[in-house]
């Protein structure tokens, strides 16, 4: 019979927990790692063709010699859509957050906060449906276009921007606001040029998060941007995006298109990863330079 | 809400205990000094040299009491940084002990100038000096009572009794000068009574000063705020109608 004393029991417990935690980490990382692995295996080869990034996607083709060409238009499409979506969601989101945080006394501020919270949980396809119902149906000239696609993505991005900006503002100590007001600086100037600047790293991180989320959404674009295999000629026409391409081509029975889908998947993953790392580094540098912490 | 901060909780607060201790020690020193006056006068008046010696031996203790209280008061000031009444009391005691020390010293001196033999001068002089001693000792007693029991009213009253002492002093001087002119064999000892009468007058004055400082410690009032202003003139110019202590100017306020 093994004799346990208190000390040995504690050590055993401690080690057990450590091992379980390690296993949990592996369990969580496994899907990510396996996706990257699969994408690499199935789509890696495609990436090394230079024209992958510039040529248009291939048509349906059943011959073994079909070309797997490029995803150029979809890269451009994603960038355009994100650009439009940010252009809407960042100003709107930041201003709404400022209102909610700094002018809190009016109950409206709290309503905004609560609403943004709820909206971040709404499935993105519903956002797409909302934009469809409001804009696609009533404005036939731009029905399926970069405009409506951008709107759909902004509907997803805005609540995230609101929430993170508000959080960032809340963390700014009240002493900063008081100091500014006591100097005879008007409230709006103090808020925009001092408080908001102090919260800038948090705001930037929030915008980054929102962009990452929007860059990967396919569902809301299905019936707004619609998708396209050609380079966009204008913002009023249907436009492609990486997630849409992946969706369409992954379901294709033609192997060359499937390969392109995997290539695009890998590309999107790597893009998100790199942008994430680079942005975080830059934001960290900004924070250090500003606050010394 | 807070309880009334002025309510008497029955427990000592702030520096109550330390202040009380300082005052008690001052009163004890005053009683020592008073004893020296009492016995010093008895020794002089009876011509009793051994009694005089006993008084002289008490001088060292008087010095020690004075120094100890001064030290305690200064320690209280530096360590507690008191304000208001506490401050006034500690600062006031520094002066009070000086006056009490003078009182004791004057009794000491009466013992010092004692010479052996029967009382000098006529009966009326002896009776007058006895009377002076009685009033003066009572005044010292009163100032110590005021100090020890926080009686500002008693302290303020002292100056009135000073007038009586002044009168007795002048009367004693008159008699003594008359005796001196008569040039009897007693003259040296009669001359000594001149000093003693003056000593009594000084003791009364010091008792009044103790009273003044006690009023200041208790209320913050300075002498000019409650004493009538008195214009003094030399004795030589005084006429029978200008009785001592006449108020020539009304008190302020």
């Amino acid at each position: 019979m093994i004799h346990f004393d208190r000390h040995a029991r504690r050590k055993l417990l401690s080690h057990t927990i450590a091992v379980l935690s390690g296993l949990a980490v592996i369990a969580v990382l496994y899907p990510l790692v396996s996706i990257v692995y699969e994408a690499f295996v199935l789509g890696g080869g495609v990436l090394f063709q230079a024209q992958f990034f510039t040529a248009v996607p291939p048509n349906a083709c059943s011959a073994l010699s079909c070309q797997t060409v490029g995803i150029g238009p979809d890269i451009v499409g994603t960038l355009i859509l994100i650009g439009i979506a940010s252009g809407i969601s960042v100003p709107v989101g930041v201003l709404a957050a400022i209102f909610a945080s700094e002018y809190r006394a009016r109950g409206l501020g709290r309503a905004i906060s609560f609403t943004a919270d709820v909206l971040t949980g709404v499935p993105s396809i519903i956002m797409g449906a909302f934009i469809y119902g409001y804009f696609v149906i009533y404005y036939p000239t731009i029905a399926y276009s970069a405009y409506t696609g951008g709107l759909a993505l902004s509907a997803i991005m805005t609540p995230i921007v609101v929430r993170t900006t508000e959080e960032g503002l809340r963390v700014v100590p009240n002493s900063v606001r008081e100091a500014a007001l006591a100097l005879g600086i008007t409230k709006w100037k103090a808020t925009l040029r001092i408080v908001l600047i102090a919260a800038l790293p948090a705001v930037a991180t929030g915008v980054l998060l929102a962009i990452m989320r929007a860059a990967g959404e396919a569902a809301p674009l299905l019936f707004t941007a619609l998708g396209s295999n050609l380079y966009p000629t204008g913002l009023g026409h249907p436009i492609g995006a990486l997630p849409l391409l992946i969706y369409f081509f992954a379901l294709s029975p033609y192997s060359n298109q499937v390969k392109v889908a995997w290539g695009a998947t890998l590309f999107l993953l790597l893009l998100i990863l790199i942008v994430n790392i680079v942005s975080r580094l830059l934001i960290h540098r900004m924070a250090v330079r500003m606050g010394g912490t | 809400m807070n309880a009334d901060p002025l309510a008497d909780t029955g427990r000592p607060r702030g520096y109550d205990l330390e202040i009380r201790q300082l005052k008690t020690r001052a009163v004890a020193m005053g009683e020592w000094a008073l004893g020296m006056v009492h016995d010093g006068w008895r020794a002089f008046s009876a011509g009793d040299l051994s009694a005089a010696q006993a008084v002289l031996d008490r001088g060292a203790e008087l010095d020690r009491l004075d120094e100890d209280i001064e030290h305690a008061a200064i320690a209280f000031l530096v360590l507690r940084q008191p304000t208001a009444g506490d401050l006034r009391t500690a600062a006031g005691l520094l002066k009070i002990t000086t006056h009490l020390d003078r009182v004791g010293r004057l009794g000491f001196d009466m013992a010092r100038i004692t010479t052996a033999g029967p009382p000098a001068g006529p009966v009326e002089l002896r009776e007058l000096l006895e009377r002076m001693d009685s009033v003066v000792e009572s005044m010292v007693h009163q100032c110590l009572e005021a100090l020890g029991h926080d009686r500002a009213d008693l302290a303020r009253e002292l100056f009135r009794r000073d007038d009586e002492v002044d009168q007795l002093h002048r009367e004693a001087n008159r008699i003594i000068l008359r005796e001196l002119r008569a040039k009897t064999s007693d003259t040296p000892r009669v001359a000594d009574t001149l000093l003693v009468a003056r000593h009594f007058e000084r003791i009364a004055d010091n008792a009044c000063k103790v009273g003044e400082k006690t009023v200041y410690a208790l209320t913050g009032q300075r002498r000019s705020e409650y004493l009538p202003r008195h214009r003094y003139i030399p004795y030589a110019l005084e006429t029978p109608t200008t009785a001592p202590g006449t108020t020539e100017h009304p008190p302020p306020g």
């Binding site: 809190r104 002493s175 606050g291 | 702030g14 520096y15 208001a84 506490d86």
Partner: protein
């Protein structure tokens, strides 16, 4: 009230929600003098000075009754932003703008409230830092972040920042309570010099500090003004027994 008052309150009552933090306070602060307000925690002294530059109303659900008269005008009839430029404030915990350099902190009031030239701003910054007795310590690193300064230096920076706005009155809410004795001494010395140009009103919980720097002292208790007068008189022979009980440590 005294004729030489720079700023005074008339029957001032200030509320947080339904409860008055100060009631019916009438008090005048002399020009070019240092006035201290002392009293136990919760007596309303901070609330009082925050009414003097209309900072009290920046908190939600607050209300003010009565008047605060600055040079003959009721500040509650004036634009609050303008009032705050004339009546500056230094807070208990030093609060420089952490995202800004020393220079930018001091020049903040100038940069945000007008567009003076670079030379003018430079001159004002140097002058304010000199007035705050900080210039010599920072002149070589004026663009360094404000947070690189020590606690005492940061507080002097906040004083310089407040002075750069060229106020007429300077309010100080327990300016030394977060500082060590040496930093405190430097600031007290500074306060005594500042009164030559400004009217200084300081809230302090430290009675000895009031005794050291203030010409006049006010004692407050549970929102009411109990006594006000020359500092020496208040500490040597206070008129109110409540004042005496407080300053001799006999409260409670």
């Amino acid at each position: 009230m005294l004729g030489g008052d720079k700023i005074r309150t008339e029957h001032l009552t200030a509320y947080y929600g339904p409860k008055p933090a100060i009631s019916d306070v009438t008090l005048g602060f002399a020009e070019h003098a240092v006035s201290a307000i002392i009293g136990p925690s919760g007596c309303g002294k901070s609330t009082l000075i925050r009414c003097l530059n209309r900072m009290h109303e920046t908190v939600p659900r607050t209300r003010v009754e009565g008047q605060v008269v600055l040079d003959g005008e009721d500040i509650y009839q004036l634009d609050p932003v303008r009032v705050r430029r004339r009546v500056g404030m230094v807070f208990q915990k030093p609060n420089p703008f952490v995202t800004m350099s020393i220079y930018n902190n001091v020049s903040a009031a100038l940069r945000f409230n007008g567009r003076p030239s670079r030379e003018e701003t430079d001159r004002q910054v140097v002058r304010s830092l000199q007035q705050a007795a900080l210039w010599d310590e920072v002149k070589d690193r004026i663009d360094a972040p404000a947070v690189s300064l020590s606690g005492g230096q940061q507080q002097r920076l906040c004083i310089a920042r407040a002075l750069a706005a060229e106020p007429e009155v300077l309010l100080m809410d327990e300016p030394c309570s977060a500082l060590d004795p040496i930093a405190t001494a430097k600031i007290e010395e500074l306060i005594k010099k500042l009164k030559e140009e400004y009217t200084v009103i300081i809230v302090t919980h430290n009675m000895q500090q009031a005794a050291r720097v203030a010409d006049n002292t006010a004692f407050m208790y549970i929102g009411k003004l109990i006594e006000f007068g020359p500092t020496e008189d208040l500490f040597e022979r206070p008129k109110e027994s409540l004042t005496e009980a407080y300053i001799t440590g006999r409260f409670g």
